[in-house]
Symmetry: C2
Subunit: 220 residues, 2 copies
Amino acid sequence: MSQFTPTPRTTLKRLPRRGVFDRAAVHAILDEGLVCHVGFVMDGQPFVIPTIYARIGDRLYVHGSAASRMLRSLAGGVEVCVTVTLVDGLVLARSAFHHSMNYRSVVVLGRATLVEDAAEKRAALEAVVEHVVPGRTAAVREPSEKELLATSVLGLDLVEVSAKVRTGPPIDEEEDLGRGCWAGVLPLSLVTGTPLPDPLMPAGRALSPEVASYRRPGAA
Amino acid sequence: MSQFTPTPRTTLKRLPRRGVFDRAAVHAILDEGLVCHVGFVMDGQPFVIPTIYARIGDRLYVHGSAASRMLRSLAGGVEVCVTVTLVDGLVLARSAFHHSMNYRSVVVLGRATLVEDAAEKRAALEAVVEHVVPGRTAAVREPSEKELLATSVLGLDLVEVSAKVRTGPPIDEEEDLGRGCWAGVLPLSLVTGTPLPDPLMPAGRALSPEVASYRRPGAA
């Protein structure tokens, strides 16, 4: 079973049983997530920005306007932290203290670099669209040269990586088990609602197959 | 209308029309969110950690084990960035380039400080539980002195704050409007599933009212 190697920075100091370094498990969390939060430092101040991403093999990609502050800052090769969090449920205990959440999260540390190779850049941008809506690439116009120039893509190798996972019911104190309140887990999932057609589209157009069949991974 | 004052660090350089500084709008996003991502710097490396939070007035609170690396780092009074992101929909355009997301996010910059006042600490911890499950506090055992000692609470004043919001349909290029694919928005929301009773609870116990009536704000 392939594992990421823990480093001092990714070793869990507390609750080490929640730590996950298995490569397949990490990949699965990254593939199920929709948005990541990218942390970086400018003038000593940390910034945390939500953005779409994609994974190809052991490499993560984020993209954005070539003019964006985040992309310009990161393209210089600074240290980043990319975190993906999936919220699976509310853990309702019998004491306020033991309330918790079931979740799966991945933290990736490293230095993001600007993707300059044209083929890799195209593949990464396609992966981003496919990450969000599998099958969508085939239905839409591909990026023009001008659009590619206006977009920056950053790559981050999955080397220093850890995941944390909490599952299961609340862990209450023995002496609280007799309390009369309901205890357990309230599952949470991200689901899609009714598609809202673009008003500029002729009325009555059928959903494309990738939209009609769309569901978030993990949706109930 | 009360507004947060933009600073050079919170002024949007691009797409300024997405910027929101209205206090009520910022509060509403923070109150609807479930998890925040806290960014901080240790030895030059940014870390981004997901955690539960709550707002009381113009102050955010996060909590955790007094032994946790994050809490100990932050309690010293370092700069943080707390980001809350609500994902509202996938924006499906006719070109790969114009795909986007509808979202609402808040970024709070500042210096978190350890809450030492006992009454404020209790109020903050209660607010955290109530933020996640309104009405839950009354049903469960309140924190013991020992539990309070084992928990650290950090407060962060809402001073340097900005929000970003994207809504509405895709914005396509004129020349792509004739494409035959479906275009529009696929709404997303976080919903609860069937409650899973704690196996240690006597069978057949009814849901507490705050669980029976629970729904995420914004759920379809």
